[in-house]
């Protein structure tokens, strides 16, 4: 299992901007192939969604992907098994909601993640106030808990979040849920700046970043970018691993020019 922070720092030191695509585990028969395809197309790490019935932080595209995955009977263990089976030469982080973690048992699911080769977890509904019981088991199992900083986070919270974050710090580009947007909004640079004041960990921007141009724009200030809905939409539309790879390739080329 790759150490997410070490891996991302090493790539950053080589002058590379970090590309972290997101796709939903279990959303189609060939999601494991899509996972391998986006890595081959230039991902530095991948976020794999574990579908939850009530995804509070997600917009319509990721909701739809989650619904499809659940309708196919996808369970959290199956997603982790799918990651374990896939060829993943870069770190994999799972993104899901806390109830699935709590229900599985912190220790059991942390160990299961580690044995599946999952190096990190992103749990958007688990703020620092509530993170203790999970973080203890995740740390023990070697699973990095990536934390989010929002445009609304005041400086004292940013400091506490950066202190507790592992892997990288996830800068939320805008107030709102995941989903494609025509413009980036104006918050991202300020959020990245507030994080930089507290830590030298890698900082990646996500939520609403939809196009190669927007990815390049955020990479001018951040170390990397997370792109979810724009990729998931292409998969929902039936593009398959090829369309996913083509889109991720276009993101790669755009941020390599930053």
């Amino acid at each position: 299992m790759a150490d997410l922070e070490k891996e991302l720092r090493a790539r950053r030191e080589r002058g590379r901007k970090l590309l972290i695509p997101y796709l939903m585990g279990g959303m189609s028969d060939d999601w494991g192939k899509a996972l391998e395809a986006v890595i081959a197309a230039g991902a530095d790490a991948v976020e794999v969604g574990v579908p939850f019935s009530d995804p509070m932080m997600d917009g319509p595209v990721v909701q739809e992907a989650g619904l499809r995955a659940l309708e196919r009977g996808t369970t959290p263990d199956e997603v982790l098994d799918g990651v374990a089976r896939a060829e993943t030469p870069v770190p994999v982080a799972v993104m899901t909601y806390y109830n699935l973690i709590f229900r599985a048992g912190h220790k059991r699911i942390a160990r299961k993640m580690a044995s599946a080769g999952v190096g990190a977890a992103i749990l958007p509904d688990l703020p620092i106030e509530e993170i203790g019981p999970w973080a203890a088991e995740a740390d023990a199992a070697g699973v990095a808990t990536v934390l989010l900083v929002a445009p609304s986070s005041p400086p004292e919270r940013v400091a506490r979040i950066c202190d507790r974050a592992r892997g990288f710090v996830y800068a939320v580009a805008r107030m709102g849920v995941t989903g494609e947007r025509a413009d980036l909004g104006s918050d991202a640079a300020a959020v990245v700046g507030r994080i930089r004041d507290c830590t030298d960990m890698p900082v990646c921007v996500g939520v609403g970043v939809s196009t190669p141009e927007q990815a390049a724009e955020v990479c001018a200030v951040a170390d990397g970018v997370v792109v979810g809905s724009a990729l998931v939409r292409r998969l929902l539309e039936g593009g398959g691993p090829e369309a996913a790879a083509a889109f991720v390739g276009s993101l790669r080329r755009a941020i390599d020019e930053v």
Partner: protein, 413 residues
């Protein structure tokens, strides 16, 4: 506290069994015993923390309290009466009293909460309220308060509920609110909450989320209980007046999220009265739920073995919720309140029973509490001669069309 890995529940703090501190302010982490907390995205955490400060400040401000009391009195129609049910009492051989929240403005207890939150919205300098609604009672109440205070209002309502409560949709629109039909998930109350939360993340700077029940992240469960505690405080005094200074033997209220029950119980938690919460049989989070996290709170939830939330099923849109407020989960776990459920058939019977014996058409939600009483009168759970207070949380006008359809369907089928 400890959670997960099968070790939950071994640390409930020192208040178990201490009636004096029951239904007091939760700790700084927003917990009632082990339940509650704040499980929201970081984007919303600052808003939750600020809301707590704003509410504490307002609640301890005599000017705020007197403005709220004045509004509830002169606009909302409080105090609502307690009615003694003579014919139904005779039939069930108990003494049945009803706390008449159906007589409050907008036809339910929901106004108590929204007037408070609308005042708070103004105090915070926000210009818009959003709300979720199931049956439409909270949506109508929110739209009403928004109209009264000149606030913008958007109400999220599951598509299933917009269909079964069509008239309430029109009512909200008439009051100037925008109603957004929610087509995600099961398209009922739980999904309306999801959608309202998503909207709140995007608009938190200008918008207050006026949550309708004692659920969600701290401070909502505490704040909504405080705002509804007027129900219990009035009822306690009214019961003592009628019962020669004593309290009822049993206090019963329906529970979806549980706001009318929480407000009622707050008035009786330090008396010897038994407290009974009645859930919908298809949404019985205490009986059939297990601890988990949804909508910002750690509570008891209907969920499958991996933690996917299950859809509640109830004739009453207002109780069609797979969880309940964290303070109820706590009261259940320490045994101070008991939770039971009523089936749709029992509820329909109780709906007709109260209509015919007392000339009061109850909301289907409230009929759950009556169904428990009707089922248990004369048994060990509710011996003949018991004195019972039921909070009639709302009036049934909104349900008449739906009940007519169901009864017609049964005659034809």
């Amino acid at each position: 506290m400890s959670r997960g890995d099968g070790d939950a529940g071994d640390d409930r703090g020192g208040d178990a069994g201490d009636r004096g501190s029951l239904m007091a302010r939760p700790g700084p982490d927003g917990r009632f015993g082990e339940f509650g907390g704040r499980f929201v995205p970081e984007s919303l955490m600052p808003a939750c923390l600020e809301l707590e400060k704003w509410f504490d400040d307002a609640w301890s401000d005599p000017a705020f309290r007197s403005e709220l009391d004045g509004l509830l009195r002169h606009y909302g129609g409080r105090p609502t009466p307690v009615t003694e049910c003579r014919r139904l009492s005779e039939r069930l051989r108990i003494r049945l009293l009803l706390k008449r929240e159906d007589l409050a403005h907008t036809g339910s207890h929901k106004l108590n909460n929204v007037v408070g939150q609308a005042l708070l919205t103004k105090r915070m300098g926000k210009t818009r309220m959003i709300a979720e609604t199931g049956a439409g009672q909270h949506g109508v109440a929110s739209a009403t308060a928004a109209a009264l205070f000149g606030l913008e209002c958007t109400v999220f309502m599951g598509e299933v509920d917009t269909k079964r409560q069509e008239l309430n949709v029109f009512r909200m629109e008439l009051l100037g609110a925008e109603v957004r039909s929610v087509i995600s998930g099961s398209r009922t109350l739980k999904d309306a909450v999801n959608e309202a939360m998503r909207e709140w993340v995007a608009c938190v700077e200008t918008t207050h989320y006026c949550l309708g029940s004692v659920m969600g992240p701290h401070p909502f469960p505490y704040m909504v209980r405080q705002l509804q505690s007027v129900v219990g405080a009035e009822a306690r005094a009214q019961c003592r007046e009628r019962l020669a200074g004593s309290d009822p033997d049993v206090v019963v209220a329906c529970v979806g999220g549980g706001s009318n029950a929480a407000g009622t119980f707050a008035g009786f938690v330090d008396t010897p009265a038994r407290l009974i919460g009645v859930e919908a049989a298809g949404g019985a989070a205490v009986t059939n739920g297990v601890p988990g996290v949804l909508h910002g709170m750690y509570s008891r939830l209907l969920q499958d073995e991996v933690g996917q939330i299950e859809e509640a099923q109830s004739i009453s849109a207002g109780l069609d919720y797979p969880g309940l407020g964290p303070e109820h989960a706590h009261l259940a776990s320490i045994g101070r309140a008991e939770y039971s459920s009523a089936t749709d058939d029992e509820v329909l019977d109780a709906f007709r029973l109260l209509s015919r014996t007392e000339g009061i058409i109850p909301a289907l939600e409230s009929a759950h509490a009556l169904a428990w009483v009707a089922r248990n009168a004369g048994t060990a759970a509710l011996p003949h001669g018991s004195t019972v207070l039921v909070t009639l949380s709302g009036r049934g006008d909104k349900d008449v069309a739906q009940v007519r359809e169901i009864l017609a369907g049964r005659r034809d089928g």
